[in-house]
């Protein structure tokens, strides 16, 4: 009964990766290329554009995950008291979960573009005198627009993962901590944090993996150079020069590799830390 599902996933996903790997290794028998070579990978890894893209991507994924994680933790600690009573807040808070990233990226353009709503407001308030003096917030060097989109989208996701744990087991423990005269920092550090850490970590990983490999948001809100890795990979893949295509696929596989490695490493670290008795 599991077989059809596994067969479809293995054929499409496994097939996609294996065929991608074959192409990026220069193995395309259909066009008479049947020798294996790692040149495409070395070309990609040695390309200065690739290094810049990789660094930018790590910066965007890392920053959006970290910012979302901090705000989400605070949010969860507040909402655990609020949302149960206030159904409206609880409902509104979940809206970003299902909204496609693309819609929010479009809304961010409308708000933060030099002729966007925020810029119009700044003119009304007399902060700036023309759109030219409005700071670049989309297609900018720091990726402000991308970061904002991701943080907006991911906060509810991380918060709800934490909230579920807090509601299940966190609250009674906090009362115990209070009776033992733990101050609020101690209660957070030694009770709340260890309680939420596994789900917080898991949620952050998913967010990191997503933001590392997603295309739409940086394509719309990113700058032309350096590009985020998924955009760079697709640009190579869709290049008129067909020789760049295997390099695009190779870059795509590097993305897949980083995502899988991030998950494997964090799993291993968490388990090793647990074995050594570290309270996480």
């Amino acid at each position: 009964m599991v077989t059809p599902a596994l067969a479809v996933v293995t054929a499409l996903f496994g097939g996609g990766l294996v065929l991608g790997l074959a192409q990026s290794l220069g193995f395309v028998p259909a066009v008479g290329m049947d020798s294996l070579t790692v040149t495409h990978f070395t070309n990609v890894l040695g390309d200065p554009d690739f290094i810049d893209s990789l660094l930018l991507t790590l910066y965007i994924s890392g920053t959006s995950t970290a910012v979302a994680a901090v705000i989400s933790t605070a949010m969860a600690l507040i909402l655990v008291f609020v949302a149960q009573k206030n159904r409206l807040v609880h409902f509104v808070f979940q809206i970003p979960l299902t909204v496609p990233h693309l819609v929010i990226a479009v809304a961010v353009v409308f708000m933060l573009a030099p002729t966007g709503l925020v810029s119009r407001m700044a003119i009304k308030l007399g902060i700036i005198d023309s759109s030219a003096s409005f700071p670049l917030l989309i297609n900018d060097r720091c990726g402000i627009g991308i970061l904002l989109t991701y943080v907006w989208k991911e906060i509810p996701f991380i918060t709800l993962m934490i909230l579920a744990v807090l509601r299940r087991s966190g609250m009674q423990l906090l009362d115990v901590g209070r009776t033992l005269k733990a101050n609020s920092w101690q209660r957070f550090r030694y009770i709340t944090l260890p309680t939420i850490f596994p789900s917080l970590g898991a949620a952050c990983l998913i967010v990191f993996a997503y933001t590392f490999g997603a295309f739409e948001v940086p394509f719309l809100l990113g700058q032309t150079y350096p590009m985020m890795l998924p955009v760079w990979a697709y640009k190579n893949y869709s290049d008129v020069d067909l020789l760049a295509r295997p390099e695009g696929i190779a870059a795509g596989l590097v993305i897949a590799g980083v995502v899988i490695a991030a998950i494997a490493i964090s799993q291993a670290l968490t388990q090793a830390a647990r074995r050594r008795g570290v309270v996480l």
Partner: protein, 264 residues
Amino acid sequence: MRSSHGTIASAAVITAVVLPFVGLMLWSFSNRWFYPDLWPQQWGLRAWDYVFGTAGSQILTALIQSLLVASVTAVISVIIGVPAGRVLGLYEFRGKNLISVVLILPVIVPPLCVAMGLHLWFIKMGLAGTFLGVVLVHLTFCLPYSVFVMWGVFSNYNPDYEDQARSLGASSSKIILRIMLPMTFPGIVVAGLFSFLLSWSQYLSTLIIGGGRITTLPIILFALMGSGDRPVAAAVSLVFVVPAFFALLFSARYLGGRSITGVR
């Protein structure tokens, strides 16, 4: 002190969530809105008329195409996902961990990598640029999702009812139709909605495999953003968000909103 924190947090949450949609609304109902005015100079339905009024328009075609792709993907995901979820949720057997790894990978690895790898193969099989090809590439990550949802549903499912029905002489098909499906129905709807939403939001995998011949709503939206027609892009964005709201309303109504966590 707690309650004032709560009020501020609630107000902040509502403002932050609603704000982007206010911008989209304003733009979609503006006929003329030059910089630096804070309000449109002329309100109107030009954008909405352009989206729904123009018969046979590209946008309407894309909307229908998107609905078809996402619906077919969701239906196939559910049909294959329910039996798989049932086995994984009800029975213990060796290799279950491996199966969960195999199923979680397509959810985590970006669709970009898979779509690029599959493209050449799909071209050779005549699937590139076809409806079926796009559905297949969407299935790669929609199907695992629906399996995971149904896995969770069947972990809390009591198969004793089926034994009772069988002892009363019910046939297998009757058991499925009268017991299993009704009891797991909310879960099935959620699995379908998730798959629908995942497929509905896809851009790059559709672009690569569809090759411009399968034009879905996100593909039109990117083109509109490039052309700079903000009111129409805003209206299309708002249409694009409708299924997301339905999914949320449904899950809030039937599941307390819990299992919606995890849609990307």
